[in-house]
């Protein structure tokens, strides 16, 4: 009786062993060409300063003059900026810029919510409030990658600032910033406006002012690591963008819009490929902690889809991704059991395309074996399929986000002639496009996920 009990227990354990640990004997497959970059930069040194730059141009003055019936978000945000800066850094340094950048004291920075900050008593030629040299703070930001740079501006840039050497002066430091792993967050805020917008280009190559706007967007550009950018964004959202009428937009320009490698973080689960777990002899495991392997024995008519949520791998608010690349390999072995399979048992097939991807708004679907359906496979063989999914090209989502607040240079005069109460930003999409182009240049294909299938196909 005792003996039979032991035998029964033994058989039970053995059967569990067989079911739970499907033996794997994969071929030597090529490793992914690049691993995902860590999006969190390490802070070297103790200092983590914050540099705040205020656009001192005259067009900014209208933001600090209250207009009845309109909510002034500019003043409340600038008032709170010191607090926000302290949340992300140790020490805050203030600057004012126009044609040049001037360091200012905290007490002077506090005046940024008053008209006097933007006024100049001297002659127009002597005043540094006629022009916004946005490239200068960017140039500064290149110098210290540990720091966080906050630029407050109306981003009202003339077309000539976005071509030739001025454009280069803008893009070169940006390229350097993005290559160092830093990101650029653009927070656009619609605020009340009571003043004059200067420098609107006309068809006669001169400029004209416009004073009928009651609302206008201003921008807080944050250069730093994604964590700090998101902290600032969160602070603003929680403290200032509370009312339903508050309008704000956010875009993150980054050279690495991929959040993480889904396989390494084990976000790919046995249910990521729907209905696969119902297949005969199904098992799912992470044998080397990086590559999820699905084992199964399936019918030749089956179709499988790997579904990935975009929010799982795309940095929130970033430009997103427009193009993906699937790198895939398939092997077959005549031997079916691992104990008989050696390195030489596997033969790599010559298929170039096996699976394809399609995008939905919030989801990326990989149609496994779409180009090489399972009915094409030969039965009585064991197959091993490895797929690496790469992000190949960043998207242009941020251009779309800010499109409605932008007016192109040539159309500005006609737009002003319609007497709009909400005045758009000159060349905004052009500026965002330039930022995106720089980010694209710095972008490197990034591995999003890897998946392996160890399977057999029925007759």
């Amino acid at each position: 009786m005792r003996l039979s009990k032991k035998i029964a227990i033994c058989i039970l354990f053995m059967s569990f062993g067989t079911v739970q640990s499907e033996e794997l004997c994969p071929p030597a497959f090529p490793q992914p060409e690049s691993q995902s970059k860590s999006t969190t930069q390490k802070q070297s040194g103790n200092e983590n300063p914050v540099f705040v730059y205020f656009d001192g141009s005259l067009s900014m003055k209208g933001f600090v003059v209250d207009r009845s019936g309109q909510k002034n978000l500019y003043v409340s945000i600038i008032d709170d900026l010191q607090q926000i800066a302290e949340n992300v850094g140790d020490k805050t340094y203030y600057h004012k810029f126009g044609n040049e950048v001037h360091a200012i004291k905290g007490s002077e920075a506090a005046k940024a919510t008053r008209p006097i900050f933007y006024e100049c008593k001297s002659s127009v030629a002597e005043c540094d409030n006629q022009h916004t040299a946005i490239q200068l703070p960017f140039k500064d930001a290149k110098a210290n990658t540990n720091a966080t740079y906050i630029i407050v501006t109306d981003l009202f840039l003339e077309s000539k600032q976005l071509v030739g050497s001025t454009r280069d002066a803008l893009t070169k430091p940006l390229k350097s910033i993005l290559k160092k792993g830093q990101s650029i967050g653009i927070i656009g805020v619609m605020s009340s406006f009571n003043g004059t917008v200067w420098g609107i280009p006309t068809s006669t190559n001169s400029t004209m002012p416009y004073a009928k706007a009651i609302k206008r967007p201003f921008y807080i550009i944050v250069i730093g690591n994604e964590k700090n950018i998101n902290t600032i964004r969160k602070n603003l959202e929680e403290q200032h963008f509370i009312d339903p009428g508050d309008e704000y937009k956010f875009a993150l320009i980054t050279s690495s819009p991929v959040l993480k490698n889904l396989s390494e973080k084990k976000i790919i689960t046995e249910n990521s490929i729907s209905k696969l777990s119902n297949e005969e002899s199904f098992s799912f495991q992470y044998p080397d902690d990086k590559l999820p392997v699905y084992s199964f024995y399936t019918e030749k008519k089956r179709k499988f889809k790997l579904k990935i949520k975009k929010s799982d791998y795309i940095v929130s608010g970033s430009t997103g991704l427009t193009n993906y690349r699937i790198e895939e390999n398939l092997w077959w072995s005549q031997e079916l059991k691992c104990k008989k399979i050696t390195e030489d048992s596997w033969t790599k097939t010559k298929h170039e395309t096996i699976s394809t991807y399609s995008e939905k708004e919030n989801e990326l679907n990989i149609s496994l074996f779409k180009k090489l359906p399972l009915k094409e496979f030969f039965p009585a063989m064991r197959y091993f399929y490895v797929m690496h999914l790469y992000a190949d090209e960043p998207g242009k989502a941020s251009e779309e986000i800010f499109k409605e607040w932008s007016i192109a240079g040539p159309a500005a005069q006609a737009y002003a002639n319609t007497n709009p109460t909400v005045f758009k930003t000159l060349n905004l999409t052009k500026i965002i496009a330039i930022l995106n182009a720089v980010a694209n240049d710095s972008f490197e294909p990034t591995l999003i996920a890897s998946v392996a299938l160890d399977f057999r196909v029925k007759k």
Binding site: K348, T349, E376, F378, A380, K459
Partner: protein
């Protein structure tokens, strides 16, 4: 009964005359064909789905044995069927009592129905071996290969059956249906 036995013997002689080649072919397939031989190459070039195998990088040598087994089994089945159907007709047609040329039409109708059934079964067997999921190695055969196997098998086994039936029924048919009356042996039966 004497006539029936005589018909069956003659039918077997006719069937066997043409069964020699499939038997030789089967023996050759089972013995392991020479990879440089023309039939081996013929299979490689025309029977298998070369492009698909090529994409998978599966050499013909790996699939050859299973494929030859499939063809062997199919030919054995067709041989057995041809023998059975040939003998059934040779023996069974005696009961149709066709003893005058005027009854040839009746004979022809029966013969054409029986032969159609035979051909349908032959086609069924070929498709069962080449198209069904019963045999894993059937997946190696391409569309061209299936056409070749089907055509050759239909023609050859019909011929074998026909020869067997003609010899087996020559004594009784005085019509032009099977041309049996033209055979020199018909006078002897």
């Amino acid at each position: 009964m004497k006539h029936i036995i005589r018909s069956c013997v003659l039918s077997i002689i006719g069937l066997s005359a043409l069964a020699i080649f499939p038997i030789m072919f089967i023996t050759w397939l089972q013995a392991g064909p020479n990879p440089d031989g023309s039939i081996y190459q013929f299979f490689n070039d025309y029977i298998v789905h070369k492009e698909r195998l090529g994409k998978f990088d599966i050499p013909f040598s790996i699939v050859a044995k299973n494929l030859f087994n499939l063809v062997t089994n199919m030919n054995i089945s067709l041989l057995v069927l041809s023998y059975i159907m040939g003998l059934v007709w040779s023996g069974g047609s005696h009961y149709l009592n066709v003893d005058a040329p005027g009854k040839a039409k009746l004979y022809f109708i029966h013969w054409i129905i029986f032969t159609s059934i035979f051909m349908a079964i032959v086609l069924g067997i070929i498709l069962f071996f080449t198209q069904s999921t019963t045999f894993a190695s059937a997946r190696y055969i391409g569309v061209g290969g299936t056409t070749i196997i089907t055509t050759i098998s239909l023609i050859y086994y019909f011929l074998m059956y026909y020869v067997g039936v003609v010899l087996g029924t020559a004594r009784f048919v005085r019509s032009s249906v099977l041309f049996a009356n033209k055979l020199p042996v018909s006078e002897l039966l």
